[in-house]
Subunit: 253 residues, 8 copies
């Protein structure tokens, strides 16, 4: 593609249809288009409605609203993660076409239709306190165009609940497991299923959980194959990664 465009410009120069200065101006930016914007373009054409993402943590309400406004001017859908109720109230008041998923702390602004859902992602969660992270993963995956099935409160301390759901979980293309404390859930799930498991350690716990470090190390050291890990409490990252995986196979369904 780039080669074709390059040849076209050169032929124009050869034919005197394009001045050297105009060609120079065009060629000067070639590497950058080639590199960055092309990717964005592709996105826009291939998967209509895929939202832009704003990571709200560390931003003021004003900053979030301003960025959201700028993006919606171009009719982009938006997914704002780690958003507070305040941010949601302001975005909904000033932009509209938006809803706030309180537990997941995600604002979805959708002036355009969201992408159609395909395939299936399972979100498996150990405890009640881990739910905000699990919900962030689930909402992110759904908003990006994936069917999501949730399996909550299936921690390893009562393993029969997990085993009971084993076959349902195994039908997903990607499995997100969310757990704090000792985080053993990911190993048990990956030992039972033959699908890629995205493990999300949470900061739930106390004492020697060291704000999620314990669960993180557990998941990284899992003796079961087929696990990879995202940052502590990174529900967004797990949802996004699972979305990429699910879309590889999603067209089959």
């Amino acid at each position: 593609m780039d080669i074709d465009r390059l040849r076209e410009v050169l032929e124009g120069v050869k034919n005197q249809a394009v001045s050297v200065d105009a060609a120079l101006e065009t060629l000067k930016d070639l590497p950058y288009h080639d590199m960055g914007f092309a990717k964005l373009d592709m996105h826009r054409h291939l998967r209509t409605g895929v939202p832009e993402v704003i990571f709200c943590q560390g931003k003021t309400v004003e900053q979030v609203v301003a960025i959201a406004k700028r993006l919606t001017q171009d009719h982009h859908n938006i997914m704002a993660t780690r958003a507070t109720q305040d941010m949601a109230d302001r975005v909904i008041a000033e932009i509209g076409d938006a809803e706030y998923h309180e537990l997941a702390r995600v604002i979805v602004v959708k002036p355009a239709p969201l992408p159609e859902k395909v395939g299936k992602i399972a979100v498996v969660c150990a405890g009640t306190a881990d739910l905000p992270v699990a919900e962030e993963a689930a909402i992110v995956a759904e908003t990006l165009g994936n069917y999501v099935e949730k399996f909550y409160d299936v921690g390893v301390a009562g393993i029969h609940r997990l085993l009971h759901q084993r076959q349902n979980i195994a039908q997903a293309n990607a499995i997100i497991t969310v757990a704090g404390m000792e985080g053993a859930l990911a190993s048990v799930v990956a030992g039972l299923m033959d699908k890629p498991v995205i493990a999300v350690p949470t900061s739930v716990g106390y004492g020697a959980s060291f704000h999620g470090l314990s669960a993180l190390l557990t998941m990284l050291n899992s003796c079961a194959p087929g696990i990879s890990v995202v940052n502590i409490d990174n529900g967004f990252g797990a949802g996004y990664q699972a979305h990429l995986i699910n879309h590889l196979s999603g067209k089959r369904q």
Copy 2:
């Protein structure tokens, strides 16, 4: 399937074709088959030739040879990772049908044909010293039945080499990035591609690399979406996870 088999046994009992004791003997193991062996069965039928895995680190040469012999009696293929030259020599001498990938430290014993290769996995590697881990990932993925393309020596200190290969890498269904020291490669790759990236930190480095901790943290904290991480030096884990992902889409190719 299990339900069908269960019904079959029960019909046999009903019809007096199966004695209660025989049925009892069969049913006694049901839960475990249902849970564990069923999964193995499925493997065996769906993907002929998929090898069993032996993790050799911490085992003696004798133990590795003994396990390998036992498995090959059932004509299983075997993949022995973290294997020393000594282990390889002994396994090849006593079992045959085997080859040793020295850089990757992997022995592949294949009394039966390996599974056919499908799809494409890219293995992107930062530096020469990271190659053993990258090769482990590549050999594991190939042996499990995946086409693998390698992009070596493309560290961020000379980013043009990576950019040059950008479009080739982007054609893979899953991208494994292997990097030690500061491990920035994974972020840059994920920022450029729209495919799931499995990041492998390596223990390459010194001083404040803390045996791979620095690269591990870098990858976990990546601001680019689409990355998940495996343990330090865990080429096997990355290869296996990429294999699961690639096979989701592999049938399309």
Copy 3:
């Protein structure tokens, strides 16, 4: 037992007393009953009144009340740990039959009689600031049906106070030692007694206590035999483990 039940079903099928479909329905859940609920059943029959446990930290007042209500509908006793005064007020107001141990932060809801107390557990505590953790251990152990004797303010900086109580402590079946700062108490106690010591590090301290890490490491590295350790501030875990130990011998008393 399970085998007997299984034979009974099969005989029923053989005798046409049970249809294949009904047998199928019964057998489908066998593994899970076998695994999980059986254990709960056993509890309920062997030790009447043993409470269910709610870990309140990270839950809202509403969630705690809702869970407590659901459990008391089945006339279960409840022990809610890490409960705030707010939670206690709401639970007492809406359920009744409850009391709040403020220092221990434990709510006990007991629509049914609690289990009878047996044996003896000693709770040995170093300093005033460690008392909430010691009290959590003591209340948990008492509520689960154990006699508890408390030995408070016996830190190693004034070792004569501990030595004075030596023979009383030694009469317990299990000894819980609770200490923050340098946590040396556990080693000294285990050096003097010939009973299992459950050591609980607390987050009491400052500076290089690193929120309990120092006490935790001290206890894990104890050169005195007979110590095992629970998480920092985990009074509940120590009380529960001591309860299991004390009940092994409890019937003798």
Copy 4:
């Protein structure tokens, strides 16, 4: 007892049968006997044959032999842990009445009969590389006078093997679980059983296992109740703690 002895001395003084100086000499050491040796005495009388323990790591072969010789002069049995083959060869050559458990790295010297075995301790072990630690725990427990049953190679990646043995394991008075890497085994075992679980993290693993730290944290943060933890690779400590617990109930069997 001590009070009786004290009264006896005082009566002797009163009756002029004991001089003040002789009484003084006797009383001078009272506190220390009262404190330390009394305990040892009690051991010797109550449980004949219980061995003294030598921790060999960090000692020279000469030191180990010298300590062993000195102890056997009083016909004590000895258990020498973390002993090398060299140490064993020398001890056997110079003292005799000894055997070396190679995998467990334990020398047992027994000029007198070992204590009779009672009760039951289960040793549950995740992987082949964890066996030396599991064996240390098992040999220590057996030598201290406990029946031990071993359940090896039951890691969580193939959870059906553990479930298959569930009822056998549950019959023990104390359960030792030994696991490296992510150490999830302890949580799963404690979730299934209603007996005290002593968890032993091992240094087996690589990368982010940080020489056993990962397994240690997993076990400390277990969400299943009834677990307490010993130091990394501390098979001796687990065996000793389980022995204390098992002997509480052992007399019943």
Copy 5:
């Protein structure tokens, strides 16, 4: 002394002046008096007015007041460290004879005269933010009966200020150095002086100071001899240790 008292009791028994039961009662507590209270007695006689210490952190205002009241009933002086303004207000209101050193966060209650001051302790402090810790050390040392000279704001970034005071500092019997951030002050002071240096790391700093860890490690690794270190922010510990050292030589002055 104890031997004398013991002989006295025995002679009483011999002479029938003391009954065996009375002697028994007296002797029963001997070991503990011998061990603990004897030490306290000695204190009380040798150094009149030496205060008891209350560590207020982690205690409620009520607890601090209660302990202070109990101690002053016996006319003990009291030093309450890490005390808040609230605690001070209440103690002063309810007990009197007290003053609050606000910067040092120390309450001194002195119903009796404080011990006379001897010798000299130098308190050397790096920065303004370290002053509360330096003041705690100084007030503690003064209240325990030591002359204290303060050398504040002499950090290594402007080393001439320290060098200017070198000879004054060197006249002290013990030198307390207080520094946060990189904590290099202790090394420089110990390199210049030939007196014992007690180094106090403070939690002053940000980022990679990790709440005082950086200064702590600096001081522990000092290449200058003659330094020993107390916990982060432990002004009390430094003041107390310097007091013990100064009193060894104090009588000479």
Copy 6:
């Protein structure tokens, strides 16, 4: 210079123009002048207007105002970093000639003209949340007399934005890169430019960023040459270091 001054004094003594006592008084302070104040003098003469610096964190509003007042009495310019709005309000009210850079948290008090700007320093910043640190670096460098060009929002997740600005950045004498999370920006910048890069990790991030530790390690382990690192969030340090570097070459422009 010092030697000249010393000779001058000695000649005065020789010529009886200076008494021995007066010479003594002069010489007594020589080492300290030689060491410390000389440096300050040099500053004052060579670079008129260079401000004194107050690090406000950990100081009270009163302390900051008092120090600022004292310094401005000598007509010094002042740069107060980590200043709160409160501090700024009070300083401006009581001293005047001051302005507050809110985002950078820096107060500049300038009774005298600031030093003239020379050369060029580039401040390259990854994300919006890193801006306060980047602004601190920029304001500090500008106030010390350096031209500063800012390149904000050029994180590695969208690398084309950085590449687009490559040639502008490369014209600076020193490049400050500010990044939190995984901090990969510094490596990419140093790989592209041939100028000294001062890397500033920020505490921006969550989970395994461990308050900036991840970015710090990334930058320390960079495989690109030409990077050195300052403390987490230390915008001041980076601005000052870049200022020293820029002034080495600044005279050329």
Copy 7:
């Protein structure tokens, strides 16, 4: 420059002097030249003889020799750091024109003249055991074309030695300070000098030096301005960074 070259090609196309295909071939690589090789080109022209760098650690002798041979085919000078004696012997034997700096572990291969030396870099080193790192920094800086003056054995424990050299050190454009253990040297040097200080922590030390972590933290937390830090033992990085700084001002001399 690149723009000029681009115009030249386009003019050639316009004038038919260059075919479209030939132009295409030339332009295809433009972005990468523009990005990466251009930088290398510039080097080659501006500073003749500047060597390529090989980081030998983690490479085999064969790999180092192979890379060195390939580079010298183009008459590049080479600097191979962290090289063993073995590597040096082989490189010297097979390539020649090389010398090995044993203490610094650096091989310099110079088929062409090295760049001329300019300016001055000071290398200040605390202890004998730190010398290999200091020498690596010095050799690297010299080989890159900088005058280097060494100030060794000037640790803070004997601060007069450092003060004695103060004025000589202050004449450098950049100061490299190398120190292990507590690493306080960097703070003292930066407090005395007004030049950029590049601090290199070394892994020299034991116990709580944690392989250089202590010195690293000390340097990062320095309260003296003008310090930036490289990785533990990274003499190369310090030498390179100082070289970049020194060359900014080098032309003045």
Copy 8:
């Protein structure tokens, strides 16, 4: 003293007995003598025979011998710590007048008589494996001129042995406690004695002892007052600090 010497020189100049150039030469080094060498001088005069110290770790045999030779040329006594048998053999062969304390790893070279011993330092040691560190402390203290009494094998697991020696230990002016593993000894000793305790953590232990970190933290967090701590395994530092303390009071004896 310095002032007197300065006056003397000035009077010489005034009286023309000293030329300005000669005076200049003399005065040039004044500050450094004043600062550093003066201190050394004082040592030499006040305490004849006090040895210079060489820290051998990280030095080659050749370097140690060379330094030792140079120092003995001036008839200095030498104490070489962390010395290997090889170093000792070479030093004894080439210098003579030396002996090697093998367990302590200290060479003492004494061409002149060592300083007379005064006072008393107690060295209290927990376990056999800690002896090298305890011996280093003891030999260092003895060689510096202190009476040392050793109390070995008095760990807290058998606390009666420590209590038995309590009164002997309490007679020392300074108490060095050496312990690895959990390091609880220091707290118990300081709780019993009223003398300054220098605590030395050792690297003895395994697993979560983290090479001495556990014992270090225990000692830093001790709840008993009167403890300060030196680096892990730093027997030298403890011996030196105790020597400084003992000499404060030593003259009294």
